[in-house]
């Protein structure tokens, strides 16, 4: 009897192998990341109110940023961290993890002088004062914060710098709005919320759930202009960014969308039309989201936009945007046709229906398998603890989605096929991407709501057999040292690949500020073309594959 059972089980395994073609552990598919959270040396729990969540303030989770705070050439990890409803000003505090190499980290929070305990959400990395060191801007529930990097130690310079919008800030992004070489700052604000007087509970799909955002008052975003020395002034009104209704802003990316040499701003709003602020020059913007086709999806529906991924899916050299949305909806791929017109092409790229049951958050394009095109990563997790497949059409904890680019489309990787993490369920929120271990491929960190910070190690560079190249920019003409807002194009033979070093990130987060490429069968000669944030072009010869090169001006 037992033998028969064993034979059946083995037959099942054989069938599974034939079906999934990945049973041989030594023949891993190229698309594979390993969850190494347990071995990085530090445990971080991202606090965001109570568990389970009962108010909307608790469900956005905290951001994460990659920053080389000690200028030693590797990426460290900053987690702003949240707090609780009873004391939003005094949570467990932000954490800074110093990269020791080999994907080992140590807690450097205290040594770096970071004492931020306010409930914090989004984070941006940039050299705000032009001293050559990356600083941290943090969007908070309560006054926003600027932490100035004074050589590996941080000082809270918010008050002196003119930072401190009291609204509920969700995401922020550095951007040089006036091409003067320094970094200005855009912060999305969400809704008015008072933890002492929470709104009455609402209903969703017939189930009683927490209130919001419907019924809560949206809040204007904030645009701050850098005066050149790390002090800022509020130009929200004068810039034209207030010539829109108050909004439920959740995320922002900044880059030159129409190729006119000026930095534009794309804002993801929750359950209302997205904004595209076109830079008119002279510090003025006009909101053209509806005209450009970015405000709504193809059906003319406003979505609950949260994550934003920036990539060039159709190879026309223009930035396309993928936004993540709520369950019982689809994520949306807005393809940039000509710099002024976007079209919802979610379905033909294979990115629509698969996302139906998921509440999507952080999302990013990256060539994770080094096959020469960018794949798409989406982290998910529902906001309602009541969520269950039989009740709200979705689970509370949800697995990430990984779409592998194959030819003209994206194909959804099977759960677990790129590592056990891809089959696991999380309350995931933010994420940041970068080469954490310096091996030439893109690793991932992501946060969970009231859960751990996860690290996914990618070893594609050593497995895939393709050449890789990482391009850093160095702009010595002003304070925007890393060239935030630049476009970087690799021309290798007949192939052109385009990346953006944009402000803002996957969701409330800041990925590394570098351009990563993989090139199967690389030619001997290749060229990098840069469009700097002010639109000025520059070319450089690729000096060697499997290396990191810096292009300066």
């Amino acid at each position: 009897m037992r033998g028969a059972l064993a034979a059946m089980l083995l037959a099942g395994v054989a069938l599974a192998c034939a079906t999934w073609t990945s049973c041989d552990a030594t023949a891993r598919p190229a698309l594979h990341l390993e969850d190494v959270t347990g071995t990085i040396g530090v445990g971080v729990t991202v606090v965001s109110g109570r568990a389970p969540s009962s108010e909307i303030l608790e469900v956005k989770g905290g951001g994460v940023a990659l920053i080389d705070f000690d200028s030693d050439g590797d990426l460290d990890v900053f987690v702003p961290n949240g707090a609780t409803l009873d004391d939003p000003e005094s949570g467990p505090g932000a954490r800074l993890l110093e990269n020791l190499g080999g994907l080992r980290f140590r807690d450097a929070t205290e040594a770096a002088g970071i004492r931020l305990r306010r409930w914090s959400f989004g984070v941006a990395v940039g050299d705000a004062d032009g001293d050559g060191l990356d600083d941290l801007a943090i969007a908070c529930f309560g006054p926003d914060v600027l932490l100035r990097n004074a050589g590996g130690r941080f000082e809270d310079v918010s008050a002196d710098a003119g930072i401190g919008s009291p609204a509920w800030g969700t995401s922020c992004a550095f951007v040089d709005i006036d091409s003067d070489g320094d970094l200005d700052l855009y912060t999305t604000n969400f809704v008015e919320f008072d933890p002492r007087r929470p709104p009455p509970r609402g209903r969703y799909m017939g189930v009683e759930v927490m209130a919001g955002p419907a019924g809560l008052a949206p809040v204007h975003d904030v645009l701050l202009e850098n005066l050149g020395d790390g002090r800022f002034r509020d130009v929200s009104e004068s810039s034209g960014c207030r010539a829109v209704p108050p909004s439920t802003g959740l995320n922002v990316v900044t880059l030159d969308i129409d190729g006119d040499g000026r930095q534009d701003i794309f804002v993801a709003n929750d359950s209302m039309p997205n904004f595209l602020f076109r830079n008119l020059g002279g510090g003025r913007f006009e909101e053209i989201g509806a005209r450009a086709g970015l405000a709504l999806n193809a059906d003319g529906a406003a979505q609950a936009s949260m994550g934003i991924a920036v990539g060039d899916v159709d190879g026309n050299g223009l930035a396309d945007f993928f936004t993540t949305n709520f369950s019982s909806d689809t994520n949306t791929l807005h393809v940039n046709l000509d710099g002024a017109t976007f079209e919802d092409r979610t379905a033909p790229y294979g990115l629509g229906i698969a996302s139906g049951p998921f509440v999507g958050w952080a999302s990013a394009f990256a060539d994770l398998d080094h096959d020469g095109d960018e794949d798409l990563l989406v982290f998910n997790g529902h906001v309602y603890p009541e969520a269950a497949s039989g009740l709200l059409d979705a689970e509370y904890e949800e697995r990430p989605l990984l779409f592998e680019r194959r030819g003209p489309r994206f194909e959804l990787a099977r759960p677990g096929s790129a590592g056990a993490w891809l089959g696991a369920r999380y309350r995931a929120r933010s994420a940041a991407l970068g080469d954490l271990d310096g091996d030439g491929d893109v690793d991932v960190v992501f946060t969970e709501l009231n859960g751990p910070l996860h690290v996914l190690r990618n070893d594609a560079a050593s497995r895939a057999g393709s050449a890789w190249l990482i391009v850093d920019l160095e702009d010595r003409t002003g304070g925007n040292r890393r060239g935030i807002g630049s476009r970087v194009t690799l021309i290798a033979g007949e192939r052109r690949q385009t990346r953006w070093i944009h402000g803002g990130g996957p969701f409330q987060s800041a990925s590394w500020q570098a351009a990563h490429f993989a090139v199967p069968n690389p030619p001997a000669e290749a060229t990098i073309e840069i469009a700097w944030p002010d639109g000025k072009p520059q070319s450089a010869r690729v000096t060697g594959w499997n290396s990191r090169m810096t292009v300066s001006r």
Partner: protein, 240 residues
């Protein structure tokens, strides 16, 4: 006599199921008949309460299983709908309309992103009812999602052929033209897309999704008056 209960159109997104007519024969249980009326009245949760009562006493009641699945689907709970459909399909000798279970199962699977299983369900439905326009349409949606534009267009046109001239199917016909417009747009054939969308809004002027697309396409073609009219219609009919 078979009474046809046409379930309310869902919209261009086709979320949560089809517009296929659901035949309601006298079930012999007034609770099942009442449940069907509730589903048609967009009160699926109330329908489900009645149907669960029926299923408590008669767990193999095929119609109750079918309608319970449809109720869950209409409440936008496709994952909850699937077990009902699967239980109905597992029965031997179900009622005549049992073949429609495949169709509704297909939509639930589609809503969950399970494209291949959804395709098989719709194909099974077409084996039983080759003239089921909604299943052709649904397979076209899967083809579109898979980037098979030619195959998608063939399905949408077949659905149009099958429903042509049926005044009860104007909304569904409009959806097919909208999807043909989507195919045309992906081929950068703006004029063709415009024509399809003009047909769609002629068939169903209240289809705000079609009006929005028409606004976008007319704008790109420089047809400002038409774009403005479509935008006004979209604003008039879109849900608030």
């Amino acid at each position: 006599m078979v009474a046809l209960v046409v379930l309310a159109p869902i919209g261009c997104g086709e979320h949560a199921g089809s517009t296929a007519p659901l035949p309601a024969k006298d079930s012999g249980d007034p609770r099942v008949d009442r449940a069907l009326e509730l589903i048609a009245a967009s009160r699926p949760d109330e329908a489900n309460v009645l149907l669960e009562e029926v299923l408590d006493g008669s767990p193999r009641d095929a119609r109750a299983l079918l309608y319970a699945g449809v109720a869950q689907q209409r409440a936008q709970r496709p994952a909850a709908a699937i077990p009902y459909f699967e239980r109905a399909l597992a029965l031997e000798g179900g009622p005549p309309e049992i073949d429609q279970v495949h169709h509704f199962l297909g939509w639930s699977l589609l809503d969950l992103g399970r494209l291949e299983e959804a395709r098989r369900a719709f194909e099974r439905h077409l084996e039983l009812r080759p003239d089921a326009a909604d299943s052709h349409f649904a397979i076209g949606r899967i083809d579109l999602e898979e980037g098979a534009l030619d195959a998608a267009a063939v399905r949408f046109r077949r659905a149009i052929e099958l429903d042509a001239g049926n005044p009860r199917r104007r909304s569904q016909l409009a959806k097919c033209h909208v999807r043909l417009a989507d195919v045309a747009l992906l081929r950068d054939r703006l004029d063709e897309a415009l024509e399809e969308l003009q047909r769609a809004v002629e068939l169903d002027p209240r289809m705000h999704q079609a009006q929005y697309r028409l606004h976008r396409v007319a704008t790109r073609l420089g047809r400002e008056r038409e774009a403005a009219d479509a935008l006004a219609a979209y604003e008039r009919w879109r849900p608030r």
